[in-house]
């Protein structure tokens, strides 16, 4: 019986809270729960990870710098999997996490299912969206090593207590890879990132301009929400593609999703239907979103959203 590896998503030398849900997902599995922290520099995260059930924290480096070398990251993870007798690797389905898991899985010819919504760590079965969230598929994985990527916020983190040991592991990856990250273009933004936000407020084409998104941002700021947009709003030039929720945009699972002037097309639902609670604000009583959401507010978003901002301030402030 092997161990469970938990691939930690390190961003700018930090371990974000979204990782802890992945630890919880792994905690009920058999064997050691080994966190793999792939980074050139050590990351102080043992105290936080052991609280959720990690039993060993491994700082993974390679015989070449890894931070700017995605191929070295994939190979180092594959080497760590072999070295620590890991038979199931779980990780977070962020852009970086998906890339690392797909590289490691390809390296080991191991099966991988990414962006799962639920999993049974011992049975090696997962539940995953198919057809853009229209159906849920149950999938079984077989093999000496299996890789499972978990959608952000899909598993709620639960503290489990316990102590972890710490060690480091330098993988031999056979020199520098062929893919080099030369620069990271950061979008400096005060707003919360869509895929990890607990609350998301999105606007559709009926916002009528990029400037009008300001009313959503004001509301979002009060509750620490992220602001998103529908494809129609993005295609009209009111918001960048990075803000798009839906089929060809981001898939999100917040606790609360508030769609403002969103009609509720299938392709939009594809990106947000696993939200815990969905609110639709629309002036059209026949908008499709009202037939597939939790709360519907029938009104003009230009009046309702500022009123909502005020209500949030008064009732939560």
């Amino acid at each position: 019986m092997g161990n469970i590896g938990i691939l930690i998503d390190v961003q700018d030398g930090q371990v974000k809270e979204t990782n802890y849900g992945v630890v919880t997902a792994a905690a009920s599995g058999a064997g050691e729960k080994i966190a793999l922290v792939v980074s050139d520099n050590a990351v102080d995260c043992k105290d936080a990870l052991q609280k959720y059930g990690v039993t060993k924290v491994v700082h993974v480096t390679a015989d070449t710098p890894v931070d700017s070398d995605p191929e070295a990251q994939g190979k180092a993870i594959a080497e760590a999997i072999k070295n620590f007798d890991i038979t199931t690797l779980v990780g977070l389905s962020t852009a970086k996490g998906k890339d690392q898991m797909a590289r490691a899985a390809a390296e080991l010819d191991a099966p991988a299912i990414l962006d799962v919504m639920a999993l049974d760590i011992n049975a090696k079965t997962v539940t995953k969206s198919h057809f853009s969230g229209k159906t849920y598929a149950s999938i079984g994985l077989t093999g000496d090593v299996v890789v499972i990527g978990i959608r952000m916020n899909a598993v709620e983190a639960i503290e489990a207590g316990g102590d972890a040991t710490a060690e480091s592991f330098q993988a031999s990856v056979g020199g520098a890879g062929r893919v080099t990250i030369t620069e990271i273009k950061k979008v400096e933004s005060k707003t919360v990132d869509l895929t990890e936000a607990k609350i998301i407020i999105t606007g559709g084409r009926s916002l009528e301009s990029a400037d009008n998104f300001a009313i959503l941002r004001e509301c979002a700021e009060v509750v620490g929400a992220a602001v998103g947009a529908s494809r129609a709003a993005v295609d009209s030039g009111y918001a960048p593609h990075a803000m798009q929720v839906g089929q060809t945009g981001k898939t999100v699972s917040p606790n609360l999703y508030i769609g403002c002037g969103i009609s509720g097309a299938l392709q939009h639902f594809a990106g947000m239907k696993t939200s815990k609670v969905i609110v639709g604000i629309n002036i059209d009583k026949d908008a499709p979103i009202f037939s597939n959401c939790d709360y519907g507010v029938l009104g003009d978003l230009f009046e309702v959203v500022p009123a909502l901002t005020k209500a949030f301030k008064e009732k939560l402030g």
Binding site: A95, K98, A106, D109, P111, A112, I113, L114, T125, K128, H130, F131, S132, K134, T135, Y136, A137, S138, I139, G140, L141, T142, V146, G177, R178, V179, T180, I181, T182, E183, V187, S189, D193, E196, V223, P240, G249, L256, Q267, A270, K273, V277, V279, I289, F290, S291, N292, C293, D294, Y295, G296, V297, L298, V304, A307, L308, K310, A311, K315, L316
Partner: protein
Amino acid sequence: MKVYVCIKHVPNTAAKITLEGSTAYDESVKFVVNPYDEFAVEEGLKLADGDEVILVCVGKETAVSTMRSALAMGASRGLLVTVGEQFISSGVAAQAIVKAIQADGEPGIVLCGKQSVDSEGMQTHYRIAKGLGLPVVSEVAAMAIADGKATIERELEGGSREVISVALPVVIGCTKGLNEPRYPKLPDILKAKKKEIKQIPLSDLGIDAAGKTAVTNLESAPERGAAKMITGDAQSMANELVDLLINEAKVL
């Protein structure tokens, strides 16, 4: 540059998926080129510079219709590895694509969509790269090629991007923003009917269709049903909503 573009035959994103039995669905809906693969086809047409753009697809024989759509965009010809199942594991699909490409020619670049919209695997291109011994970059939203090198922008969370340098040949997973896929014109659609699509049964490639992942059940995603409607003037609706979110839904 000889370009290989991997495409998948998938139900139109607006199609209703009606399940039949535990893992099948009504396939009489309209099928299309996987939307992310359209970016790959468009990019391939731009990069080929007069050289061939060869489509590679793993699918049922019905995938010929989808390959015709991509041929109508301007691709030269197609290779279709035929399988009996709609859902095959990405490891098997990748092996089939690798063997089909290797038997056909030397790729200058291999372009794929970053994921399919039916099984949403997000990894076949990584396995293709491993099989071909090439580097791979996914979530590619911008790309420029000069002096045998690609400078790539890869999309991260929150709109940030990684700038990546990689030598050709390379396998690319394309995403939205890379380009605007063209709409075929009628003469191109007619021309596409005469283009070659070579069908290769999976078994002829010596590949076992059974992979290491298996879909054991499909079910329709639960619907929420009609909303609890809130009406009135703006401020009273807003107040009522916030109260419901705090006390009933307990999400604030």
